[in-house]
Amino acid sequence: MDDLRDLYQQLILDHNRNPQNFRDMQNATATANGHNPLCGDEIKLFLNVENDQILDISFKGSGCAISKASASIMTTLIKGKTVAETESLFARFHTMITTGEIIGDIGKLAVLAGVYKFPSRVKCASLSWHTMNNALHGKENLTTTE
């Protein structure tokens, strides 16, 4: 039970109920779509990148609590960051949700540390990040986590 409480702790539930930056973006410089065929989770991600800096980020879509919360937390953390900082955070986030190991300061993402104990949910937590990464690198094609 504790493991699951870890996973669904209040912060995840809050972000699921009231996701941050959950909106369209008219002036997006890049967008990408993501899809998790296992769950049917779908996300559309918007970025506004200027001079190597992420000025704005938002998302739309439907998904489980973990995918929605992960996307929501991600947007709050990388807004204002440089592309390099974002990539570093993604790499460390990925390590954390697949192994449980936390490298450096990952801020609020720590609430998702328990995901590694539930392998079937790793894809839920990582969908928004993979989609963001694709948008960042100009891959508008559908991201799939299968």
């Binding site: 039970m1 699951l4 769950c39 049917g40 779908e42 439907s62 609590a65 539930f118």
Partner: protein, 405 residues
């Protein structure tokens, strides 16, 4: 009197899982009684020879057990042994027909008639086949209540219809489709019919003579048997006209470097060393089902179904998909504001296993306007207490996820 407690004692998994383990995912795969596990172990422990080719006592024993299972399967669905082909599962059974019959007999413009409630295993083989042959796919739609809309048969059953492939019991809605009626309409226009019976054969009496189907496919693991074995029933006179599916050992009569002749049916369709242990295990599963009584099992499931429908409908946040009057013990549902994956994860935390996802039926999900659903399905080892536990845990999850808003 149907005694679930005694039945559960026949399934070792219940003593190996936590005391409060509730398994409600038999539509995906069933648990295995000791009798089946023992039959598989016994083959590997005491007489694990190859079949049909070993001229020694142990080989004869293995062949007798393997062919004995074929007879048990045949009797179970009221068929002759030569019409029973062992495959690795329903999917392979359907593909066998798609490759060995449909690709040889369909041409451009011919129609393959399916329904909108097919499992992917009864959609994709026909999409591939249509692409190669130029045949056209048509789909009988389903109504809001999860029943087929057969109101305009002349629209679907035409002179061009050459094959009808239909699911007997929906793995999403539980609906039991009127296959006898469909088969009659198909035969009237000269089409053959394949019935996907993966969800029906384990739970209700299926009589291929009475049904009058041309092909019928089902899986061992959904009826208490091992994974890796399935069955294709084919009308013998059709099987005789068909070329082999896979080439290799066992399926041949004579072989030269350039040409070969084929073994008799059903062996013509069983290339290579077959899944001997699994087929023997399936035979043991059928013995076990017969020892309890398929009719008794069916009645018990119907009781559970009605109880569950009543109890679940008492939860205001819960939506059930499908309301067919004739249906099996499968209930797909969603809970307001809770994604089925979160629901399944939180129910698991209470020791309850349900299915969450698209149930290999993405087009159905799309038509329902949902990305996924939860699904609970029942079998002989389930009880009303299991359903009480399910409902309590759903309510608990609604409160946890819904919180204060």
């Amino acid at each position: 009197m149907f005694n679930v407690k005694n039945i559960r004692n026949d399934f070792p998994i219940f003593s190996n899982q936590a005391d409060d383990f509730v398994y409600l995912d038999s539509s995906a795969t069933t648990l295995k009684p000791k009798r089946v596990i023992d039959a598989v172990t016994n083959y590997y422990t005491n007489y694990s020879a190859n079949v049909h080719r070993s001229i020694y006592k142990m080989g004869e024993e293995a062949t007798a057990a393997y062919e004995g299972s074929r007879k048990k399967v045949a009797d179970f669905i009221k068929a002759e042994s030569n019409s029973i082909i062992f495959t690795k599962g329903t999917t392979e059974s359907i593909n066998l027909v798609a490759y060995a019959w449909a690709r040889k007999n369909l041409k451009e413009g011919d129609e393959i008639l399916l329904t909108e409630m097919e499992h992917h295993s009864n959609l994709i083989p026909w999409q591939l086949c249509a692409k190669e042959t130029g045949a056209v796919l048509k789909h009988i739609p389903f109504n809001d209540d999860g029943t087929l809309d057969l109101s305009e048969p002349e629209k679907w059953f035409t002179k061009k219809t050459k094959l009808v492939a239909v699911i007997h019991q929906s793995n999403v809605f539980g609906t039991i489709n009127p296959v006898k009626e469909i088969i009659k309409m198909a035969h009237d226009v000269g089409a053959l019919v394949l019935v996907d019976a993966a969800q029906s054969v384990p739970h209700q009496k299926v009589d291929v003579q009475d049904m009058n189907c041309d092909f019928l496919a089902f899986s061992g693991h959904k009826m208490l048997g091992p994974t890796g074995v399935g069955v294709l029933y084919g009308r013998p006179e059709i099987l005789e006209t068909m070329d082999p599916f896979l080439g290799g050992g066992e399926m041949i009569r004579t072989v030269s470097f350039t040409e070969s002749t084929w073994n008799d049916i059903p062996w013509k369709f069983e290339a290579g060393t077959p899944n001997v242990a699994q087929a023997i295990g399936l035979g043991a599963a059928i013995d076990y089902i017969n020892s309890i009584g398929l009719e008794q099992i069916h009645r018990h499931e119907q009781e559970l179904l009605n109880y569950a429908l009543t109890k679940m409908q008492e939860i205001p946040e819960l939506t059930i998909y499908g309301a067919a009057l004739v249906r099996g013990a499968v209930i797909s549902f969603n809970v307001e504001n809770v994604h089925p994956h979160d629901l399944s994860q939180l129910l698991d935390n209470d020791g309850i296993a349900i299915r969450a996802g698209h149930h290999c039926a993405q087009p159905i999900m799309k038509k329902l306007g949902v990305s996924a659903t939860g699904r609970s399905s029942f079998y002989l080892y389930n009880s009303k207490e299991d359903i009480d536990r399910l409902c309590e845990s759903i309510v608990k999850t609604v409160n946890f996820m819904g919180g204060s808003h």
